[in-house]
Symmetry: C2
Subunit: 353 residues, 2 copies
């Protein structure tokens, strides 16, 4: 049903389609790249009745405490940090701030689906750049583009990462445009661009607490960039929703930053399970792209991605399938717990036999 | 410092200026219309460690449980409800969905400051309609406007409410455009437009948990409207941030809906304190607009609003002052606890003497 009230400019807008969030049947859920581990004990206990009572008051719109903690950890000034209601909130703000008429947006043909959605929502010109044959980003395709550039590193859903040197060349050749590096999955093995912040005023690094910090449910992300970039982002944030991050999420984020050892151990374990799962899939004849993330992107000759997805779902295992032409033979599998991955592998085996 | 990266279309954008949220000195805080009462005991205890552990998973992007509770309470279908990260999130979504080229936005000259900010952010044509001399909205000014219409009822910062009959005439004369009634403060004495939902497909009612439900810190609002309107809003929500409401906020909202008796009693008490405060101000020679909200908008001949604001701030009491020409002699005072209002009145007395 098309709403007759929806403005004509949005009639052809294709919204983002998030992975299924099932509410009835219990699935082994390997479809939205959540952590198999709960938040740290500090986080689990941070919202006391006393903290809850303070919810009568608006949150700090400047997120001072959380930003100061983040800044200290990242060795930058708090003025170089903005916090958002998940990293999607930050991406939305960045597209509004740094693109527009005569400033297109450039991103890979195969990447996080939201970049295209924001571009369409704000009627931005798009430069969609195909990945190479082997599903890698060719950094030289992004030199001197006169555009806002959005690159997920590691990329999704491929899991493949760029090197810091490649990112630096993109920054050097686009000095007058923002290069947004979306590091949602960086903790799982890629090199963060954060060390480049001191040299590149045009670098915006976007991070999330949803993956390595087990806080997808609390909605928390942040951006790190030069003061002019963060000032620009804040101009837009204060024009949309200055109280975008709740007291609850701010507190949970602060507690999470005091639990580094816990999360570092989780990440290490997830990377170990990832490599074991990759080896097992390869032994069954699957091609698995080299992942620096908490998911595997994999296909098997003669095996339709959608069919594999459906048969696994019948068996109670949710993975993600994308119908986009170049990648429709793949499935994307979140790295879950050791037990979940054993069951996943057993079921893959029985499906392909 | 103007960011050289901020897109030219945003260089003149004036962001919203929220009320001060002081972090150092302790003030009696009567400037952002928060409740003097904490959230209900049910809310204070709803985020157990078990609930917190589930934060590793994304929230339900359809907010099914919360929407079903709201729908039951409002006697509408869950398809007529959308939930947002505070009501600002919903307003932002509505402006993107229902206005655009050839569909301007109409709102009063004196009202919630964010309507103008959204209009400017999205470069919408504005029809700004002056309040009458006595600071009332004249409903007939809004007949047949060919625009998205945004009206706060009761209006802010005046506190004055329209009648249901007046709102119905606006709906009748604008059948092809959305009439957004922002009911942030409706619990404190105005008539809600919710009963009109069954007859008007163009009515969108926006509500918040921040005021009467003491949850400003959790960020939670909702919209109620016809299915086509909600479908249109969701198209935009899924194009910005489908996971816009955290698990924490959804849980807190559900708990709040189970605590009606508690909140009804709070609202009654706030209204009683409001009327006593109004009487006391009038006894000191203040003019006080007839408020159906949890704040009072007041002025005294020969007494500058900004000076009153500053002198109260020196004395540890924060109220809100707006520099806009027509209302610069007023201050807006949130109705706080009985004790807070006694101290406020004593200080007003000493300031004006």
């Amino acid at each position: 049903m098309m709403s007759r009230f929806l403005h004509a400019s949005k009639h052809n807008l294709k919204a983002y389609v998030p992975g299924e969030q099932p509410r009835g049947r219990k699935y082994i859920k390997l479809n939205t790249n959540e952590s198999p581990f709960p938040p740290s004990p500090e986080v689990q206990n941070c919202l006391t009745a006393e903290v809850m009572a303070e919810n009568r008051l608006y949150p700090d719109p400047e997120m001072t405490a959380l930003r100061e903690l983040l800044a200290k950890k990242l060795c930058v000034s708090p003025k170089m940090i903005m916090v958002g209601n998940g990293s999607d909130d930050i991406l939305n703000t960045a597209f509004l701030a740094f693109a527009g008429e005569e400033t297109p947006v450039a991103f890979p043909d195969i990447t996080y689906g939201f970049y295209k959605v924001y571009a369409d929502l704000y009627q931005l010109e798009k430069k969609i750049i195909p990945l190479r044959e082997d599903f890698r980003i060719d950094a030289s395709d992004y030199f001197s583009l006169d555009s806002l550039i959005a690159i997920a590193n590691p990329n999704a859903p491929t899991g493949i990462a760029l090197t810091l040197g490649e990112i630096e060349r993109i920054l050097q050749t686009n000095p007058d445009h923002v290069v947004l590096i979306d590091e949602a999955y960086v903790a799982f093995g890629a090199d963060s661009a954060l060390p480049l912040l001191k040299d590149y005023e045009n670098l915006l690094v976007v991070r999330t607490f949803s993956k390595s910090r087990s806080l997808a449910g609390a909605r928390l992300g942040f951006a790190a960039g030069s003061e002019p970039l963060i000032e620009g982002l804040n101009r837009i944030r204060y024009s949309i929703n200055p109280y975008n991050v709740s007291r609850l999420a701010q507190r949970a984020g602060e507690a999470a930053l005091y639990s580094d050892a816990y999360y570092v151990a989780n990440v290490k374990e997830i990377c170990r399970i990832r490599e074991n799962t990759k080896t097992a899939l390869e032994a069954m004849g699957f091609e698995v792209l080299p992942s620096k993330s908490n998911f595997l992107f994999t296909r098997k000759a003669g095996c339709e991605g959608e069919k594999l997805y459906s048969k696994l779902k019948e068996r109670g295992i949710l993975v993600r399938h994308f119908s986009q032409a170049r990648i429709s033979d793949f499935i994307r599998v979140t790295v879950g717990s050791e037990g979940d991955m054993r069951i996943f592998l057993e079921n893959v085996k029985s499906v392909i036999e």
